[in-house]
Subunit: 332 residues, 2 copies
């Protein structure tokens, strides 16, 4: 097996082209790659009838399952598992109790049974009372060291190489790229700058409620145990409007949760591109078109043609899945 | 009187220095200017013990009264006045009814009596049902043409020249500047790029609720008549955490509404600068330290020393107030 350690997830700065200058080298020739290059040419080539000024070149990406492997558990659930390990060392009584036991035993059916909101709500409770800045540092420290048990790689190297190349290509063409995620903003921000070169303020996610503490010598925000808003489905569209204030021209998602955002972007005037990643590669990653309990994609896949979405097949359209030095995955 | 038309509000790109290269030419020598230059040097000079990487160089500015004249009415209230004129032409019965009559007669005491939230709530109702993108265009079109009756200048030229210079100086030093405003995000975004060179997604403001309409052939957001969140006081701090995800190192405000944000920024570790603009210039602008009903500053001014805020006197610290060609103002 190749050395899985060498993929650091930080190759985003120059990942947009092969050494010979060919763009998107990890994308196979095909309809998806052609649509991407045609779109970038249409909106960026000087003199193109559809050329857009840079401030209108806005691209949005879902996160879990679009930029980063989400199966069998999204990265936030792995972090939560670590937190539950810590808690169980202090409170051994947790070891036998559901849902903690499901995390401690890597019991996937029971974990999937919690649903995405169940897992996220547990995560909010598990980190409640922690000042936001300390939480962000904890998440960053964990990510720098953690290994992904199912993918057999550092967690920080579970980003998709073709997407790093796409983000780099867009950035070279003066696009501003945002992550629009159902995951928690603060968590995704802990690695978005290093993993994708996307600044923290270009991450739009689920927000936790916070308490502002302003006392002599203290001025900080503390995480509460409840969400302020879930960022999924129509709320991704609202989140884009509230945060970006402009309709993006390119959107990339992978699930029903992203469908409203993909339709919203696709329906704007002029050239628009909305892409849906299909996890159909059971060899290099996981094939779960039959449905993934935490992030179903049945509806989006079935209605892709109706809504003008470009489906991207991981199996057929991607020459590489993860960073090159560790492209195999293994199930433990 | 000089030609007030020539101030276009678009001189931000090169407004940071005088022709001889002296920074902040519209700032008089004094404690405020010295504090700004000392701070920028401390966090940006290579080798400084407090040097910060660019992604930590985050500055936040309040809007009405900090970057743009707010007295006797903030710019959003002027736009609302225009909308009420339109409505009254269709529905003449409005002319005699409070609060519409107060707008139609420029009746300042009655307008101030509505309070800031009263005016904003009326603005939300007056534009309810309008798709967000059409509203943004209407606001931009109005701003491009409107004149400020009390300041005798184009509305688009009511920004403060010293602040344009400060934003340009910060940008030259790789700062990312955000507007954190109690005003409505969509409205302020209509002019933030042209007035300040600040992209729409770097404006954090009061959000209106929206309805997502996804039907065949239609995909848009429509403004509802209610706010989603007011962005003032502690909620400015929450807004910064939710949107930026990082504590800024410089904050500039002008009112009690900004005090929590100023304290939050000032209390962080390392060099921090929190500034409070004092409207004490009754000749070139308006002196309202006695209190402005729509945006009181009594508490902030009284506690400035306690919280380590640098007070900026418009009268003493600013050599120029508005863009040079039209620095006089007149009351009609």
């Amino acid at each position: 097996m190749p050395d899985a350690e060498s993929g650091t997830g930080t190759g985003h700065a120059d990942a947009g082209a092969a050494p010979d200058g060919r763009p998107l080298p990890s994308w196979n020739e095909g309809a998806a790659r052609a649509a991407l290059l045609r779109f970038v040419d249409a909106v960026c080539r000087p003199g193109s009838p559809h050329e857009l000024p840079p401030d209108e070149r806005i691209a949005v990406f879902a996160h879990d399952g679009t930029l980063w492997g989400e199966f069998p558990l999204p990265v936030h659930a792995l972090f939560l598992g670590e937190r539950i390990e810590q808690l169980a060392r202090q409170l051994p009584g947790l070891r036998e109790r559901h849902p903690f036991s499901a995390f401690l035993q890597d019991d996937l059916p029971r974990l999937h049974g919690l649903g995405w909101r169940g897992i996220m709500q547990l995560a909010l409770v598990a980190h409640a009372g922690v000042p936001l800045e300390i939480y962000a540092r904890q998440a960053g420290d964990w990510l720098a060291a953690a290994r992904h048990a199912w993918l057999g790689r550092p967690v920080a190297a579970c980003t998709y190489q073709p997407q790093l190349e796409l983000i780099a290509l867009l950035r070279r063409h003066a696009f501003t790229c945002f992550i629009v995620t159902a995951g928690e903003s603060t968590f995704v921000r802990a690695f978005a700058p290093s993993a994708y070169g996307i600044p923290a303020h270009q991450v739009i996610g689920t927000c936790v409620r916070t308490q502002v503490q302003l006392q002599p010598g203290i001025a900080e925000l503390v995480k509460l145990a409840q969400e302020e808003r879930w960022n999924e489905r129509e709320d991704k569209v609202r989140g884009i409007a509230a945060h970006i204030g402009r309709r993006p021209v390119l959107a990339f998602g992978n699930a029903d949760r992203d469908l409203a955002m993909l339709r919203y972007v696709r329906a704007g005037p002029g050239p628009r591109l909305a892409l849906l990643l299909h996890h159909d590669d059971g060899v290099r990653e996981f094939a779960y078109d039959a449905g993934f309990a935490l992030n179903p994609l049945d509806d989006a896949l079935e209605r892709a043609a109706e809504f003008g979405l470009q489906v991207v097949s991981m199996r057929d359209d991607w020459a590489t899945v993860f960073a090159p030095a560790g492209s195999e995955v293994r199930l433990r």
